[in-house]
Symmetry: C2
Subunit: 353 residues, 2 copies
């Protein structure tokens, strides 16, 4: 592995135990029964450990949405045309997509990245062009990309995370766009979890039973053709991954190396997290799983990562839409820890033992 | 029943089917796979029906927190002193409670009401004083209040909902504070659902096994002493309810009568919803259940109401903390419907059939 990737992985340290302990003690002195704010309390404590501050703070919030195309669409695994990836990039730039609406409402800044869209995209000041190649190759017949391209995708993500940090960053979320990208994501999940493709493959944007059976068969063929080794996550990415998936894994590594919490969106971001956590197991402590996607394999994915999602709203859009909602909850969790009065401050009597 | 209550119940109409249908059609034309925003899509459609607008809007947001004390604390059903109800009212007025933090962050205005706090409260311009009596009577020995007091509590809630509507109101949430109020809430749930007290009684602020067994026994005694009839919700409120529970039920009726969506918080607000929906079954369509409380009986309560909560964050604080989060989700849901581009607007190709 090359320099930036190796160095970044080395920089990912355990959470700050002292900050965790101080945050927990403060939660228990706030004017409420202990534990009565549930997941919001746990979240504030995790954020303290990540940011290495007893009272974590979230002001600068960003989501990186990465777009890429997938050669496996040649196998007709879905029912949307490939050109939609590029069209949705323009929709992001124009402010009309789901993530634009939620990001505006939650005060999250959005960066849109072309990691490997097949259609040539017009230049735009708002578009970050980092195309590794115009779409991956067909994983049903061979590797999606070379090891060099996989490394490039990861390091692009690290570089872009660093650029966000330079702008000021307290939390980052991941988002994806790529017609066909539930197929490589399910393939990654099958490899990393050891489960059969049939167990981890879902309906993506909404395919019928017949197409689902075909999609499972395509993934089985991809695994047979590539034989990826779960102990080699970089190779898994190269063999059955995607450019936006590699880029998002890089964002996660780059953020965690700099003590920035990472909110992972849904199924595609989860597949990226499997690659990133495979490269750097310590990363898991830095992850905040936004929601349980309606995509079938996501439950297994989250179990394999060992994380519990905050939300369960039957969403399956991607784009970072779930991440934006969870960033909002993270901000609330920090404000509660920072702004609620303690028992002595408010003159409230404590529980009788 | 008296005039205001009867008139308000009569005013609660079915949702506007035409607005529902138009909202559903617009959701299906937005640039995303149909249904991929899950519960947020359903929520926007429900809000359209409630507000009777094809594109519902949420700008003015309010939560009413109602406080009351409970004579049943004489039976030692919990482990916090009764004076905490009044102390927490001051904490709300001072801005240091959990609901204050979340309301600030979500742009929700807060109204704090004394419906029946036992401790005399100092006057404050921010406190709405509508004390029915200084605490209910002990339900283990007889009725909590008279039928006249129950009617007064309900009509106070209706009146305060009307006052919020006069200020401008697009959505309202309910919140409660009252040491001991999980006991009358469990009693109401037992009556209205027909379940045994042991099935619907939980640990409130966190009591141990011994105290839980005692609390269940107290509720059994309350039902035996009062014999409330589930077909007479006003009588149920009077016999085993509370002043803040009656007030919140009134808020729900008053809001629904004026086409304002009602976000119900946790267990106590849920008990109020059982009373309100008992009086006006049509009310259920106007309810947005914020979250599944960690309080044991809440699952049964939500099933009995026939509603599915938006969030499940192991919260059990009350005060409207869950409601404020769900108001935020409701606002997001409306913005998505209003602001996302349609397929033709964004020039995005649609799914191939």
């Amino acid at each position: 592995m090359s320099g930036l990737l190796t160095e970044t992985i080395k920089k990912i340290k355990p959470l700050d135990g002292s900050a965790v302990e101080q945050a927990r003690r403060r939660q228990d002195r706030l004017t409420k029964p202990q534990g009565s704010l549930g997941r919001l309390e746990e979240l504030s404590i995790q954020l303290a450990g990540i940011q290495r501050k007893p009272v974590p703070q979230i002001k600068d919030k960003a989501i990186i949405v990465m777009a890429g195309d997938h050669g496996v669409v040649a196998e007709k695994v879905g029912n949307w045309p490939q050109e939609v990836t590029a069209q949705m990039v323009y929709n992001f730039l124009g402010g009309g997509a789901g993530i634009n609406v939620i990001a505006r409402q939650t005060g999250v800044r959005l960066t849109v990245v072309d990691m490997g869209v097949a259609t040539p995209l017009e230049n735009s000041p708002a578009l970050v062009s980092r195309k590794v190649a115009p779409g991956t190759k067909n994983i049903a017949r061979g590797p999606a990309m070379t090891i060099e391209q996989a490394t490039q995708a990861l390091e692009t993500g690290i570089d872009l995370a660093n650029k966000e940090i330079d702008k000021g960053l307290d939390i980052i979320g991941t988002g994806d766009m790529g017609i066909g990208n539930t197929t490589p994501s399910s393939a990654i999940l099958a490899v990393m979890s050891g489960k059969a493709p049939a167990e981890v493959t879902g309906r993506g944007t909404g395919i019928d039973d017949e197409l689902l059976a075909h999609k499972i068969n395509v993934i089985e063929r991809a695994l047979a053709a590539n034989r990826p080794d779960p102990k080699r996550p970089l190779e898994v990415l190269a063999k059955v991954g995607g450019f936006e998936i590699g880029g998002l894994a890089g964002v996660m590594l780059g953020a965690a190396a700099n003590h920035v919490p990472v909110v992972i969106d849904g199924f595609i971001s989860g597949a990226a997290a499997l690659i990133a956590a495979g490269l750097a197991p310590q990363l898991k402590d830095y992850l905040i799983p936004a929601h349980r996607s309606a995509e079938a394999g996501h439950r297994i994915l989250l179990q394999h990562l060992g994380v519990k999602p905050l939300l369960d709203l039957d969403m399956r859009l991607g784009e970072g839409t779930g991440a934006a909602l969870a960033i909002f909850l993270s901000e609330i969790a920090c404000k509660i820890l920072a702004e609620m009065a303690t028992f002595p401050e408010a003159g409230v009597s404590e529980k009788q033992s």
